[in-house]
């Protein structure tokens, strides 16, 4: 055989195999069939979680919104907790926590986020539900799609688009309401007084929701979403994911009434229901694939068929590849992934807990003046200049006293701190002070000095914060 012929042959094999893999590039619109079942109910329940997104902004706490991400004032309010830009480092731990949570859940149970919680999945689910209510079953929808633009079609489509836009609008307004006073936002929107930022955000959300959930749908998961790709590489043979029991199912073949099945025929009757219900249009029987968002709807479909033909359910089920292949499955605690992920999860939780518990109501930062580092005064004392930045996180202004550790330095004089200083709440108040120490009482060129700010609020609660800085004198 010549070299060329070998090449041709292997190419043909490759093409033959590739023929089995159809790639969904959106040329055929997916119209998934809706069916009741365990996972369908689960999906509705998880969809409901998103109601928090819509109603959350309307809860109040005192005279402000309970949860408000107030970007113009650089304050995040989460119930009683107020976070200032200084606390944002905790956000990295929160993000780490959710990133690793995604990883650990994926490694154990596949794309749970994609199948049940992702906004793309949920909004698409609601949009297609509306579509089905207005246009009917998938067969009817396909027919309508091809039908000419008659008045009836225009009315149906107009209704559908109107409802979609309404949801999109609500989505946009609800998102915006987390960042500004929700009630005021509605008033501003109706009186056309809202900020341009609000209008731009809302219109981007309307366009995004309408287009992504209404038209792009599963194409988003296939070709836009990075999570889908990241999550896919986290799955291994031990991950429990919706799988087709290939050993039991193959060889698949149609059931024909009155005709006995051949001996090598498996339980799969090739009814294609699993494909018909799939919101992304994949055939789970082809094995794990990028298009599968693991929503479990094919399990519902297959189980209902199995019940009808009096065969045990679970031809498609949540199982690991090892489980399907009859291999022994490693218990959770023996999997290194579980340990590594859990450790990172724990670290991030500790980070947030430490951050939250270490949050002081009064914080002090000190800038030692660089130019000049020190000044020799005519009476032989050395003067250093400091800018104290007092951050007051309680809900009222505080009259604070500034002090330094006088006992360490003989003859220390604090200038600029004679009177109490009003530290405004929710912001940083800078105070310039001078420290004078006689040159003869300095033992080193650079010595540490500790400043303390303290004050009492109206109820008499005492707040205090200390910070170390340096006192610099001439070279010795």
């Amino acid at each position: 055989m010549s070299e060329k012929k070998i090449q041709d042959q292997s190419l043909e094999e490759l093409y033959a195999e590739a023929h089995e893999h159809t790639i969904n590039v959106g040329d055929v619109k997916i119209h998934a069939k809706r069916m009741g079942g365990k996972f369908r109910n689960l999906k509705w329940a998880s969809n409901l979680l998103w109601l928090v997104f819509f109603i959350g902004p309307y809860f109040r706490l005192g005279d402000r919104q309970a949860v408000l991400f107030d970007i113009p004032h650089r304050q995040f309010h989460i119930f009683n907790l107020t976070l200032l830009p200084q606390d944002i480092w905790m956000l990295s731990f929160v993000l780490l926590f959710f990133a690793i949570l995604l990883a650990v859940v994926t490694a154990l149970a596949g794309r749970v986020w994609c199948g049940f919680f992702c906004f793309q999945t949920v909004w698409t689910d609601v949009f297609t539900w509306i579509e089905e209510k207005l246009e009917g079953t998938p067969a009817k929808r396909r027919k309508l799609e091809k039908a000419p633009w008659t008045a009836a079609k225009i009315i149906i489509r107009a209704k559908k688009y109107f409802l979609w836009l309404l949801i999109s609008l609500l989505t946009g307004v609800s998102f915006t309401a987390w960042f500004t006073d929700a009630y005021q936002l509605w008033i501003d929107l109706f009186t056309l007084q809202a900020s341009s930022t609000a209008y731009i955000t809302i219109s981007m959300f309307i366009a995004g929701t309408f287009f992504l959930a209404g038209f792009l749908r599963e194409q988003t998961c296939f070709w836009l979403c990075p999570y889908a790709r990241i999550q896919a590489v986290m799955i291994d043979n031990t991950s429990i994911v919706p799988s087709y029991d290939v050993k039991r199912g193959e060889n698949r073949g149609r059931l024909v009434k009155g005709k006995p099945t051949s001996a090598d025929q498996g339980d799969c009757v090739d009814c294609n229901q699993c494909v018909a219900v799939c919101p992304t249009g994949v055939d789970i029987r082809g094995g794990q694939q990028e298009g599968c968002i693991m929503c479990g709807l094919c399990i519902d479909a297959c189980d209902s068929v199995m019940e009808k033909i009096n065969k045990p359910t679970g031809l498609i089920k949540y199982a690991s590849w090892d489980g399907i292949m009859g291999k022994e499955e490693l218990p959770l605690f023996k999997r290194p992934r579980v340990w590594v992920y859990s450790t990172i999860l724990l670290i991030s939780v500790i980070g947030v807990v430490v951050g939250l518990s270490g949050m002081e109501s009064l914080e002090l930062k000190i800038l030692h003046a660089r130019q000049p580092l020190f000044v020799i005064q005519s009476d032989g004392t050395i003067q250093n200049r400091y800018t104290l930045k007092v951050l007051n996180k309680i809900n009222e202004d505080l009259n604070i006293t500034i002090s330094a550790n006088n006992e360490k330095f003989k003859g220390l004089i604090l200038l600029g701190a004679e009177k109490k200083i009003n530290a405004l709440h929710g912001t940083v108040t800078p105070v310039t002070i001078f420290v004078k120490i006689p040159k003869k009482n300095l033992t080193e060129t650079s010595q540490s000095i500790v400043f303390t700010v303290s004050g009492k609020d109206k109820e008499g609660t005492f707040y205090q914060s200390s910070r170390e800085s340096v006192f610099i004198g001439p070279k010795r």
Binding site: A369, R370, Q371, P372, V375, I376, Q377, S378, D379, G380, Q383, R385, L415, T432, F434
Partner: protein, 285 residues
């Protein structure tokens, strides 16, 4: 390239190499075409909104009439508008009143940095830290007085130090004695011989009987540890000052000590601001 086309029906361009390597003529992908049309639409939109095409003596202005300098001016106007209430208040107040007003003096401290940097820092150093031959502004030793009014006068009119050259009137030994006496004073020692010479040679006429200097003349206080012409070898520096004087005519080796007047160079309001700014370095009296 082959004349004979073995693949006539696939729409190739007729460019065929090595029997079967051929160039097809497929349309670009849809997304690419859409992006291309979108960029054309963008250019048209951009050209309508912004200045775009240069003409012989002018250019297309665009519907919005946007210009870079216009945007800059608008931004400047915005800053000026924020500053205006403070500047209006400052204009009507004396430097002393500004100093007493917490809000305004904080404003001066924040906004004065640029004026100080442009006009003062070259000699006096950022933060008034001083430079070789130029006084420190952050200490409490002032040749011409450290009250807010005196600082303001100094900035407005400038200052020129004066000390006669003693190269011809004092012997080297006398200069040595005087220099040692003066350096000793700053360390708390009193040399009686030097003291006698200080009085007999009429140094006190300018520096005062107690050698503490006179604000009215701008003569230096010789008793404190701060030197107008500070040096590592302070004794040598003092000797040079006594020998050659300060701004003394006819002595090429004389000390140069002159601060220019900022009247007319800075507005009255800016001079007031600088007085407050310098005062707040920590040395004001």
């Amino acid at each position: 390239m082959s004349e004979h086309n073995p693949f006539p029906d696939e729409g190739n361009t007729g460019h065929i190499w090595d029997d079967n390597l051929r160039e097809l003529s497929n349309p670009p992908p849809n997304w690419w075409m859409m992006a291309w049309y979108a960029s054309i639409a963008f250019v048209i939109g951009y050209g309508l909104i912004y200045p775009m095409i240069p003409l012989a003596t002018s250019y297309t202005k665009g519907l919005t009439g946007w210009t870079a300098i216009g945007e800059y001016n608008a931004a400047i106007a915005e800053v000026e508008a924020i500053r205006k209430p403070y500047e209006d208040k400052l204009a009507a107040m004396s430097a002393k009143d500004i100093l007493a007003d917490n809000e305004l003096s904080a404003y001066v401290e924040a906004s004065g940095k640029v004026i100080f940097g442009d006009n003062c820092a070259a000699c006096h150093g950022a933060g008034g830290s001083g430079n070789s031959g130029f006084p420190v502004l952050a200490d409490d030793d002032w040749l011409y007085g450290g009250t807010i009014e005196q600082i303001q006068t100094t900035i407005t009119n400038g200052r020129k130090g004066m000390m006669t050259s003693h190269a011809g009137t004092l012997t080297e030994a006398e200069i040595d004695t005087l220099a040692n006496y003066v350096v000793g004073l700053s360390e708390g020692k009193v040399d009686e011989k030097g003291k006698a010479l200080f009085q007999s040679k009429a140094c006190f006429a300018c520096h005062g009987m107690d050698a503490k200097g006179m604000t009215a003349m701008g003569s230096a206080n010789l008793t404190d540890g701060i030197w107008r012409f500070a040096a590592i070898d302070q004794l040598a520096s003092v000797k040079r000052t006594i020998t050659h004087g300060v701004n003394a005519a006819n002595d090429p080796k004389t000390r140069n000590a002159e601060m220019p007047s900022f009247k007319g160079k800075l507005s009255d309001a800016d001079i007031k601001k600088m007085a407050v700014y310098v005062y707040k370095f920590g040395g004001g009296k």
